[in-house]
Symmetry: C2
Subunit: 503 residues, 2 copies
């Protein structure tokens, strides 16, 4: 249960573990503790702690000598190509958002499989049963001391309110300690977690990890004290009264209560009013959880010329939340991988090992795709030399974050850094110790080295899980450069004589 909880809480926030109790899987051991902001990379962790590891000159020159030509070809081709953006346009503008269980997700899966086939790859899908949560009508308003409507979005997985809704006094808290301290007042009340997300900074990243735990665990923690519902301040440092949704998790054995996100504007309004006197809120939601639905991971391959059974997985997730278009989260990651493989194939490059695109289903509210893949492909994991994921938005690439077992960390980082050193044209040279990706994490315990594409995520959490995660926020050049970075990394790791984690 604890592992599932971790997975749900960090879903779509690759580098931002809960800031409370240390929750690192025991097979991870980095210099900086995993899950803290300073250890991360990408939008939440930034360049922070982990500086690029310095490759040994011999290794650097070996990779550089051997692959500079191929990487230059890949980068030049990908940098000039707009096909990833065209694919993303179809996925977002024509198909739209695609929550697990929705018809749109099925449409997206069929489209992705077809598109990869048309690009010449070996393609198949692998069935996965996924949760089927459906958003209903949701509404909330302050009824005392003023009358004011609130902008809300139910958190994914929330139960419905009774038909007439819930009307109750609000208890505003700013952290777990305050929740516990006010446990007597919480009984019968709606708890509002008015927890402010810090602004993005170069050294600390986004601060998502410090705040998202209230979204993930707030309902059950409040229910233990007898709360009747929770409102959670949207996890963003920059709001235009746009609520954010995302996964939440009910603890076993604790009563389930409705959980809705409110905007920063509305959360702070309630908090200001509550500082002056009692506040009452009415809320209703007829969200519902249906029986699991059939879905699938989509797999497309370029078979290796010498060691086809050794595999480099490059991945994103094809599902999204049910608002906006899921453009950055994670349409961008999905098309990046599709186009990376196509770029390599179009250049007539066939590496020694197999490169496999995996578009996972159900990252957002279950991680069923990632867990099914690790389970169903358990026999292949020892020969899976690397798993790469892009799930930090399709912003300009900055480099890679590397997550491995401690005993291979330095050499994997060194080799990834050698490859990244060839990516100066697209400024993707930064290599840090950090998170790989939520979908590939289930492969970690089997020893598969993992790499996350590290992007310029300064604005990611402005739009994350909102109506504003739309194609207009994606820069076609940045997306093309993501393709370049992933294609170069995947090609070199798939082709070089030694495994990336070899001694």
């Amino acid at each position: 249960m604890k592992r599932l909880l971790l997975v749900l809480v960090i879903s779509c926030a690759p580098t931002a573990g809960p800031s409370g109790p240390h929750r690192a899987p025991e097979w991870i051991s980095e210099t900086k503790p995993y899950g803290t902001a300073s250890a991360g990379s990408g939008p939440s962790g930034a360049a922070a702690a982990a500086t690029a590891s310095v490759p040994s000159p011999a290794a650097a020159s070996a990779i550089a000598e051997r692959y500079r030509g191929a990487v230059d070809k890949i980068v030049t081709a990908a940098h000039a190509d707009r096909e990833a953006y065209r694919k993303l346009s179809y996925l977002t503008d024509r198909i739209g958002n695609r929550l697990s269980g929705s018809a749109a997700l099925g449409h997206a899966i069929a489209w992705a499989a077809q598109a990869m086939k048309e690009d010449g790859h070996d393609v198949h899908t692998e069935t996965v049963m996924v949760p089927h949560w459906v958003r209903g009508v949701e509404a909330a308003e302050i009824t005392a001391p003023i009358s004011r409507s609130l902008h809300v979005l139910g958190l994914g997985g929330t139960i419905a309110t009774p038909k007439a809704g819930i009307t109750a006094p609000v208890v505003v808290v700013h952290d777990w300690a305050e929740l516990d301290a006010r446990r007597d007042a919480v009984k019968g009340a709606i708890v509002l977690y008015d927890v402010a997300m810090p602004k993005w900074s170069e050294d600390k990243g986004s601060g998502y990890g410090q705040t998202v735990e209230y979204r993930g665990r707030g309902a059950s923690r409040a229910a233990r004290h007898g709360a009747v519902a929770v409102l959670v301040r949207s996890v963003t440092a920059h709001s235009l009264r746009t609520p954010h949704t995302g996964a939440m998790n009910y603890e076993d054995g604790v009563e389930k209560i409705p959980a809705l996100a409110v905007t920063v504007e509305d959360s702070t309004l309630i908090a200001r009013l509550a500082a002056q006197g009692p506040v009452t809120v009415h809320l209703r939601a007829d969200d519902q959880m249906l029986p699991d639905a059939e879905s699938a991971n989509v797999i497309g391959e370029l078979r290796g010329r010498e060691r086809p059974d050794e595999i480099v997985v490059i991945s994103g997730h094809i599902d999204s939340w049910d608002v906006g278009q899921g453009a950055h989260d994670d349409g961008a990651g999905a098309v990046t991988m599709m186009q990376a493989l196509t770029t390599i194939r179009k250049l007539g490059l066939q590496p020694r090992r197999t490169i496999r695109v995996v578009l996972f289903t159900n990252e957002e509210n279950g991680l069923r795709g990632g867990r099914a893949y690790a389970k169903d492909h358990a026999a292949e994991l020892p020969s899976t030399v690397l798993a790469v994921e892009s799930d930090s938005g399709g912003f300009a690439p900055r480099g890679f974050s590397v997550q491995t077992k401690p005993e291979v960390r330095d050499r994997v980082k060194a080799r990834v850094a050698d490859i990244a050193a060839l990516l100066r044209l697209i400024s993707a040279t930064r290599v840090t110790a950090g998170h790989g990706g939520a979908d590939i994490e289930p492969m970690g315990p089997a020893g598969v080295p993992m790499v996350g594409l590290d992007t310029d995520g300064r604005t990611y959490f402005d739009i994350h899980h909102t109506e504003a995660d739309t194609l207009d926020k994606v820069d076609p050049q940045a997306l093309a450069d993501d393709v370049a970075a992933v294609a170069a990394l995947a090609y070199v790791v798939a082709d070089m004589p030694e495994r990336v984690d070899a001694p």
Copy 2:
């Protein structure tokens, strides 16, 4: 009619006149043409063109010598005071938004009058009849080639659609020329003005002026070609799928058609789809215009000790749009003026002339308050030595923009610059030639010199006329410094021996 049009279009955009035909009232003549981006100041015009006028050394030292002590006292007191923010909290959190004709506007007027009385001022209200437009249920969706809901807000004053709504093909245009060029396609269609607002820049300001004309005049221009409705891309350079509303204007003799704003996200989506093939949109709105309602300007005074009949007006507007809280537009301006007068009174300062706070009603959708004041107080205008307005948001003050008849411009600017030079502590030393304010503009033809409070408006048009114009966006220190700037200017102009426009 032309003048009214100007007033509606620029309402709440003090420095941003239409970028098309030159529309400056003939009594304005600045070095740079009025109404162009480079001539403005504040959020839309920025420091741009007009550099601080250099006062003659003699004049500078006269004002500095005489008033440095008083200004230091005023600035020190206002800078440390949080009462403006407390007033704004009540106005926004307790009363909320306040469109002309709404009960909330009546409540706000009563509250403001009472608050000024409690602060010791002479207070009265002056009845003004205002338009009473009421927003109904508004909705829109793309029905072909995909099915997708749109986020819309009816523009203020729009007529309703037929009850069943309007379903029609969309013609996307990016400027007036394209509208005219496609006139045959426009007949029977919904016109979408997908006009992008440029990003704010230090030298050009906001670019609001270049784009807002499509909101103001788009309906009638399209109706002349037979369009059945218009959609207008929200006038902002930064969207989180938050639609912006604002005034629009129907031309006499042209058929009225419904006019709704769509978000940047939705506008660009329609434009992308339309570039590939036909797009159909369904929209409905049951907005309505009721008979004019009674409202009032609120007036509070500190009577002058020597020349009480000579008046310095300091003003903002008490009404707002009907979304969000009207915090920056223009709750901030209103409380700035209330607190500026209170600061002067509390310090025991009684200037030579009268300082009069005027909180205008109906700036947003009619300017009835401003026009009624100029008409009803016509006899006083020759002895109104200055009119000051704050309607560019309650951001940190940068200085003042001065708008006068050409023959007094240099001397008014020089004196305002002398006063601003005393405001280094709050960095409000910049004096430019620009707009005074929409509400005070009707006093201009009578020769009243006008000054706008110039603020750091980089983010103003992110929230302008939206659900996101809320108290959390207001920095209490910035607001206090606005009070300081206005109180200092008003006190010195009211007290100095000569009129601010004297030879």
